[in-house]
């Protein structure tokens, strides 16, 4: 496979200005992630120490195989919700190696509101379980939660993808033959009691771990019975009498040592075979990505330059290099694993949509996972394109994206707007993993265009009432809408709402994709089959 010939001038003023801009974005990301992971009010740290509990990050270190990679997901979930009160939505999730097995780890963070579940906490736990189901990955739960955050219960309890989905997903994962382990390191109350109860294995820490449907205060209120935590749902009661938990542990360290031995007893799954060879580092340096990504997201750049910094040896076999050139399609390898890449070099036209739909089917038949690199303002608009059937050709691309049986991975590199998001395997199209780069944006249309549409409607409405607005009055309508729009299309908002699995520093993309591809190969790949393509 030939190497991409980079045409970037790394000494140019524009490259250096881009690099400064994007390095600052990456640094801001690092700082925000650090705060979400480690910075807590002193009283919460003190409480953990008083309770003789380890900090979540120390639990994680003790659980994982030392020196192995850990891909944390949705670190900045809820960063723009609840007034910033719930860093990481009070939950940690990720993919790591425990006793040589790839597992999904989910942990309540007792240093955030006692591990209470906010609506976005529930969304994050459900997503972690969805990842386990889609990729057939075993799961370890580190349980330490006060239960649902009652003031917001209407947004986390009754609906299809709310709290009940956690327990439904746990049951489905077990039905698929994929093992789960819970380590009870704090209280598992009410719904939370079902996490260990629905796990194939469970360990409970004596003194701090407890499982019950209702805690002592609620029991007293309901029946008048007076009972201690230990009697009601402590480690010894559950491991000797009720059988709700399996292994008693003397301390958190003991519990995690038991957990590692239990996970080590699980049969190693056989990975799905795909075309795979020895990995090769990219020829071009990943740090160039900072200088390639433009300061202004509206400036076009060649996506092959990004591909050259992500794939093995910077090698790329381009499919249909002369047709539908606004969509770059081709084969490459990431950590030795072959992938089919679709990357936007401009808006989607009829020809580029057809090319994409065709290429996806080639990859599907060929058992080649798909990587979508989004940089898309949308499909082409206008009379000529409608007459040529741009909606019909877009539908073919969407049909192919939705129907593909091979695993899909999506990165929003710069921007993803309008129906372009559908054609490029947005979140709704079940990519196995989806990440955003710090400067990338997503919304139904660009901020300026949306504000034009909204303010025009308002101006026309007032004109019908006989009022005419001065230009500063129109500006007064536009400005707040524009501010809201820009805020809500930012990468931080997207990740806050769990529209992705996290924001990635561009230079970490190759490693993250390596972990995701490896994880995805734990699930078999169905034979190709599709719906009706409108021809």
């Amino acid at each position: 496979m030939g190497r991409i010939q980079s045409r970037i001038d790394i000494a140019s003023g524009s490259f250096c200005a881009n690099a400064a801009h994007n390095t600052a974005l990456a640094e801001e990301l690092r700082q925000r992630q650090h705060r979400a992971r480690y910075e807590r009010p002193q009283r919460d740290i003190d409480r953990l120490a008083r309770q003789n509990k380890m900090f979540l990050r120390d639990r994680l270190t003790a659980l994982l195989d030392p020196g192995t990679p850990f891909l944390e997901l949705s670190t900045l979930a809820a960063n723009m919700a609840y007034g910033g009160d719930a860093p990481s939505a009070g939950q940690m999730s990720g993919i790591g190696i425990v006793s040589g097995r790839e597992v999904v780890i989910h942990a309540d963070d007792a240093s955030v509101k006692g591990g209470a579940w906010y609506p976005l906490s529930v969304k994050k736990i459900v997503r972690a379980l969805d990842i386990a189901i889609e990729n057939r990955l075993p799961m370890v739960h580190l349980c330490d939660s006060a239960g649902g955050f009652l003031p917001l219960q209407r947004d986390l309890f009754a609906d299809r993808y709310f709290a009940g989905r956690i327990f439904r997903n746990q049951s489905i994962l077990s039905k698929m033959g994929v093992p789960q382990l819970s380590v009870v390191m704090g209280h598992c109350t009410a719904g939370g009691a079902y996490i260990p109860a629905l796990s194939d294995y469970s360990v409970i820490v004596r003194g701090t771990g407890a499982i019950f449907l209702a805690g002592p205060p609620l029991v007293k209120a309901a029946t008048g019975e007076q009972v201690t935590i230990e009697e009601l749902g402590g480690a010894d009661m559950h491991t000797t009498i009720s059988g709700t938990a399996d292994y008693p542990a003397a301390s958190e360290a003991h519990a995690l040592a038991l957990a590692r031995e239990i996970v080590g007893s699980w049969t190693l799954p056989e990975k799905t075979m795909i075309d795979r060879i020895e990995p090769e580092e990219p020829y071009y340096d990943a740090s160039d990505l900072y200088g390639i990504l433009p300061r202004d997201s509206r400036t076009a750049f060649d996506m092959r330059e990004l591909i050259a910094r992500i794939v093995d040896g910077s090698r790329f076999h381009e499919y249909q290099p002369a047709y539908g050139t606004s969509l770059v399609c081709g084969y490459a390898r990431i950590w030795g694993m072959k992938v089919g890449i679709l990357a936007n070099n401009g808006v989607l036209f009829n020809d580029s949509s057809l090319k994409g739909a065709h290429f996806i089917q080639l990859c599907d038949k060929n058992r080649t996972p798909l990587l979508f690199l989004q940089n898309i303002t949308g499909f082409m608009v206008g009379r000529e394109y409608e007459r040529r059937g741009i909606s019909k050709d877009g539908a073919k691309l969407i049909m192919a994206v939705s129907g593909a049986s091979v695993p899909k991975f999506t990165i929003n590199c710069n921007g993803a707007f309008g129906a372009g998001v559908y054609g490029m395997s947005g979140r709704a199209f079940d990519p196995r993993f989806m990440f955003t780069w710090p400067g990338a944006q997503t919304s139904v249309m660009g901020a300026e265009q949306a504000v034009d549409v909204l303010s025009n409607i308002k101006v026309k409405q007032l004109e019908r009432e006989g009022r005419h607005l001065a230009s500063e009055e129109i500006a007064a309508i536009r400005e707040p809408v524009l501010e809201d729009y820009k805020r809500e299309q930012s990468a931080y908002y997207a990740t806050s709402e769990l529209w992705d699995d996290g924001i990635l520093d561009p230079i970490d993309t190759r490693n993250a994709l390596g972990i995701c591809l490896s994880a995805a190969l734990n699930a078999p790949i169905e034979n190709p089959h599709y719906g009706v393509f409108r021809l």
Partner: protein
Amino acid sequence: MQHLMTIDDELYCVWLGRARMGYALHMQNSVWPVALEGASTLLFDGERHCVTIAVDGDRVYVHLDGTAHELVLHDPIAFHVADAAGPAQDSVRAPMPGSVIATPVAAGETVAAGDTLIVIESMKLETAVKAPRDGIVEAVNFMVGQNFERDAVLATLVRSEE
């Protein structure tokens, strides 16, 4: 198609095929048995030679019988396309309808592949249209502010030197 390789800047067409004992080296119309024993003994046509091999990116250095040789393996697609840029790349066409926002080069100027010929705006995107190959600008057909349709010829190139 055989592998294309330069050894000390001279081009060779060779192929390494499977053989009962090690490999078979095909070159011109001959075939020689070859094998590598360990990392430093080369078996060639029944004779043993001491070799030292060092790899530096795409280049391989082989020290054999007191002389060092530099080997470079060429990607066949890149090799054959290198000098084949034809007249199709003489005119640079609009990838989408839009308007011109900058014209950094003028007729008569020499450009290298990848240089920006014209900057356009369309569908909320600012796109720098680049030269597909080295050459001299024959004409830039639109001025700043002018609109154009898709496939309009934005600029034309002629070959330098000839």
